[in-house]
């Protein structure tokens, strides 16, 4: 079609659909003959992810070129004539340039390609790609993180019983996320969504010999599935709402993301339909990205291997919900009325999740659970941003959060792998590891600073942007809640850091050998085994028996050379583990500058290349852009931009459509920036002091020391004063305030919400049994049997007639004949 003077697409954009395809094929190959290969399939996984990464990066570059051409206007110069005829009615205002702010910027149409996937009632629905800024960002992010995680896994799960299956599942998992990210229509989104659910089931239950793990896997899949009701229903509502409009105006159908967005903003959409559709879809997001009522599955999901957790929590599974909201933003924008800026479901849920999860993170002893809850609270923050109209900050936070959260998880893995011998219990088996594992500790600290949002690191920019925008859009209360969240984040991360890397080594970190228990399950019997372990150490040589079996299980659960670790205690992990960690730490440092608002327009890269422009697009162009021939790259000349502020607040004029609402961006205020920094700093400091005092207090060696020589006495006094402070902190603050609240929250979580999930499951089963026993077997089936009984009874009644006497038979025969004859005669007469 209008290819001559179209925006440049290039190979990587046209063939972006290869990005998910490669891992999918890789999965098939690994399953097929992974076991035969020298590295048992892992090489295929890594290779496929590497290819995807390259492709994704290429796509990023070409997308940036595309946007540049559009902005500089050269892309449409030649086509203006053709465009202008079709764009009558649009006063083409001053041709937009990159610096004109989004109000003047032209709409950069995504690269859409579809192939017919299925048809129904004559409508053909496609499977294809929808490449725009958001897509390329997520594609590159997912592919890259997956690559790093797989490299990490090489060493981490070496010797595992299902090494091959592990990599297969990991690869498929990434493929699922990639499919969803470049989905062109809703059905494709569902496809990727569910594939991820399946893989999470496989991966969380990776060590399914333990009932706990398989239960956790079941719980994860099931909880997400409950949310998926919303996805199915919402898709249906949106489809039938948008279908006719899409056919009439865009030659498209009600699944296409583009068509849905345009429909939602067109003003022709019924508010009821939009409202219910968006609510239903958001229920799905609640389930997927662990928002408030349905977040209980996330910590249990820690039963999976650490690489899985990191992939799950950084860039794939749980982000899917956020991505869905971001992708269908117009629907939520209109359906939940973000535009006017009222309180809405998403914002509220996000805020609640933010705080509750952060509180829960305080009472965790398991390092991975701390990180899990922190993920939940960060997701809450993203939702909060989305719900308050801050689209870009949310996406930005997804971007940065992926790096540092992944880094944190990998560090935790590295610690348990080499430091605490497969235990994740901070209080029992960690502490003081900073000396033993400097690299890991360094990476962890960098990532922690990034997560808590200290100035030069990534988290600062994204989190601060969210908070500022929330405030700017008029949600003052929510803004303060966000500040509170930032404070709590700082606090609990400090606690975790302290317990893991500082203070005195405990348990395995001190080189004890009591950790032959399988630490990847959080089951009550572990404590017993740990006790048994201590007991073993007391009497030196390990006795055969329960401890030994557990050891065997723990080892085949983790790396095969586990036994060697008994010789020397904690040590730094190998290269294969460190390299990804360090890379991620680096990115956690710098990735913030991709959209560093404080430094002015030139640093707002994401804003320029990722955020869709809220431009009114001429219908003709849009139609070309969406409904093209199968499989060919769809292009159109840079369309006209006109009265843009209409988008999302007022319906676009006839013959035109909007694809994205006009979100406003808050200017950076140093005041708020410093406020945020101050709060974070306060959190860090207070938590640090508290930790040193509270946990360091257990340090008994000082007692003897003070008696021996003087310099120590001062230090002792110094500590002693500290100790007083600790006393204060501990008694008043911690015992008085923090613990009760946090514990209460945790109690509610465990005993109310979680119980509800379990009970509902159990209850359903009991109802099922009841119905089966009483109704199905007794009533319905009974009726059937009854008829049979009646038949046989009549048989018994008639039995005597069958006397076997010939004469009687004769009598009956002739009698019957006579009677029958008489009857006949009477009838005929």
């Amino acid at each position: 079609m209008i290819a001559a003077d179209a925006l440049p697409t290039g190979f990587f954009l046209d063939y972006a659909w290869l990005i998910p395809l490669v891992p999918a094929i890789g999965f098939a190959l690994i399953i097929g003959f992974g076991k035969k290969l020298p590295y048992r399939g892992s090489e295929i996984g890594i290779a496929s992810m590497a290819i995807s990464t390259v492709l994704a990066v290429g796509a990023v570059v070409q997308w940036m070129q595309r946007v540049n051409t559009a902005d500089s206007g050269s892309g449409s110069a030649g086509g203006d004539g053709g465009a202008l005829e079709s764009v009558n009615g649009f006063a083409r205002s001053v041709f937009p340039s990159a610096t004109a702010g989004e109000n003047g910027e032209p709409y950069v149409e995504p690269v859409i390609r579809t192939w017919t996937w299925w048809q129904n009632g004559g409508l053909e629905f496609g499977l294809g790609q929808h490449i725009d800024g958001l897509a390329v960002l997520m594609l590159s992010l997912v592919a890259f993180i997956s690559l790093l995680v797989q490299i990490f896994s090489l060493d981490y799960v070496r010797g595992d019983r299902r090494y091959t299956h592990f990599f297969a599942a990991l690869t498929l998992f990434s493929a699922g996320m990639l499919v969803m990210v470049l989905a062109e229509n809703m059905v494709q989104i569902i496809l990727g969504w569910e594939i991820m659910g399946l893989c999470s089931f496989m991966l969380i239950g990776h060590w399914w010999e333990d009932t706990a793990n398989s239960k956790a896997a079941l719980k994860a899949f099931f909880t997400v599935r409950v949310g998926d009701i919303g996805l199915l229903v919402g898709t249906a509502i949106i489809f039938f709402g948008a279908n006719q409009w899409a056919i009439d105006n865009l030659d498209s159908h009600g699944f296409s993301v583009q068509a849905i967005s345009a429909w939602a903003l067109s003003g022709d959409a019924g508010t009821q339909v939009l409202l219910w559709g968006s609510v239903a879809l958001f229920i799905a997001c609640i389930g997927k990205s662990g928002q408030f009522p349905l977040h209980t599955w996330l910590p249990d999901a820690m039963a999976g291997p650490t690489p899985v957790s990191s992939l799950l929590h950084s860039s794939t599974m749980v982000v899917a919900g956020v991505f869905l909201v971001a992708r269908l933003y117009p629907v939520f924008w209109e359906g939940l009325a973000f535009g006017p800026g009222g309180l809405n479901l998403i914002a509220i849920i996000g805020a609640i999740t933010l705080v509750i999860a952060a509180l829960l993170a305080f009472v965790q002893d398991d390092i991975k659970k701390v990180l899990a809850y922190s993920t939940v609270s960060q997701l809450g923050m993203m939702m909060l941003a989305l719900g308050t109209g801050a689209w870009l900050p949310a996406v930005f936070h997804v971007f940065t959060h992926a790096f540092f959260k992944c880094c944190l998880f990998l560090c935790a893995g590295s610690v348990s792998h080499s430091g605490s011998h497969h235990s994740f219990d901070m209080k029992k088996d960690m502490g003081g590891l900073v000396k033993k594992m400097p690299w890991t500790a360094g990476a962890w600290i960098v990532a922690t600073l990034a997560l808590t949002g200290v100035f030069p690191f990534a988290g600062f920019f994204s989190k601060d942007e969210i908070i500022v925008n929330v405030g700017e859009n008029g949600y003052t209360t929510l803004m303060w809640i966000a500040y509170l969240g930032a404070f709590l984040t700082a606090a609990y991360m400090t606690r975790a850091t302290y317990l893991t890397f500082f203070g005195e080594p405990r348990g395995a970190a001190a080189g004890e050998h009591h950790d032959d228990v399988d630490a990847h399950t959080e089951e009550p019997h572990d404590e017993a085994l740990v006790a048994a372990g201590h007991h073993l150490d007391a009497q030196g040589e390990p006795e055969p028996g329960v401890g030994h079996v557990a050891a065997a299980r723990a080892d085949d659960g983790h790396d095969g050379h586990g036994h060697d670790d008994h010789a020397h205690g904690p040590h730094e992990s190998g290269k294969l583990i460190l390299v990804p960690v360090v890379i991620l730490a680096f990115l956690a440092t710098v990735s913030g500058f991709t959209n560093a608002v404080p430094f002015g327009e030139d640093f707002e890269i994401l804003k320029r290349y990722v955020e869709p422009r809220a431009a009114v697009v001429d219908l003709e162009d849009a139609r070309l852009a969406i409904a093209g021939g199968p499989g060919e790259a769809l292009q159109l000349i840079a369309p006209s931009a006109a009265a843009v502020d209409a988008c999302g607040f007022a319906a676009p004029p006839d013959g035109a459509v909007c694809f994205f609402p006009a979100v406003n961006h808050a200017p950076f205020k140093w005041s708020k920036g410093f406020l945020a920094l101050g709060i974070v700093g306060a959190g860090l400091l207070s938590a640090w002091l508290f930790c040193v005092a509270f946990y360091g207090r257990r340090d008994r060696r000082l007692v003897g020391l003070t008696d021996r020589f003087a310099p120590a006495r001062w230090g002792y006094l110094f500590l002693w004063n500290k100790y007083y402070l600790d006393h204060l902190y501990e008694r008043v603050i911690v015992r008085g305030v923090a613990y009760p609240i946090a514990n209460a929250a945790y109690w509610v979580n465990q005993h109310v919400i979680d119980r509800m999930v379990d009970d509902s499951g159990r209850g359903t089963r009991q109802v099922g049994e009841f119905m089966y026993r009483n109704i199905d077997q007794r009533v319905v089936d009974g009726a059937v049997n009854a008829s049979g009984t009646v038949a046989s009874e009549t048989g018994h009644v008639l039995q005597p007639v069958q006397s076997g006497k010939v004469n009687q038979y004769g009598a009956l025969l002739f009698g019957a004949a006579a009677v029958a004859g008489i009857v006949l005669v009477l009838i005929n007469v």
């Binding site: 069958q802 006397s803 076997g804 006497k805 010939v806 004769g810 009598a811 002739f814």
Partner: protein
Amino acid sequence: MLAANFLLLSAVIFCIGVFGVIARRNAVLVLMSIELILAAVMLNLVAFSAVLGTIDGQVFTLFVIGVAAAEVGVGLAMVLMVYRNRRSIALDELSEMKG
């Protein structure tokens, strides 16, 4: 002369035969009663052939005679066998077919 005569006669004999079949205890006698019934039927056939003036009735009568002969032969043979097996041909004693 009247057709009804023949028909009524055959009816009477038929009914008497039926009574015999029902009432008699001795297998041979039951067979005889059956002969009565057959005779009645044949009489009927002939009567009708006379009434209608066609030959078919008589033809059928002859068939029936043949079949009746066969029936008597087989029937008596069976009676013999029964007698040989149970030393009695009292019908009310052989009720193996009782349900």
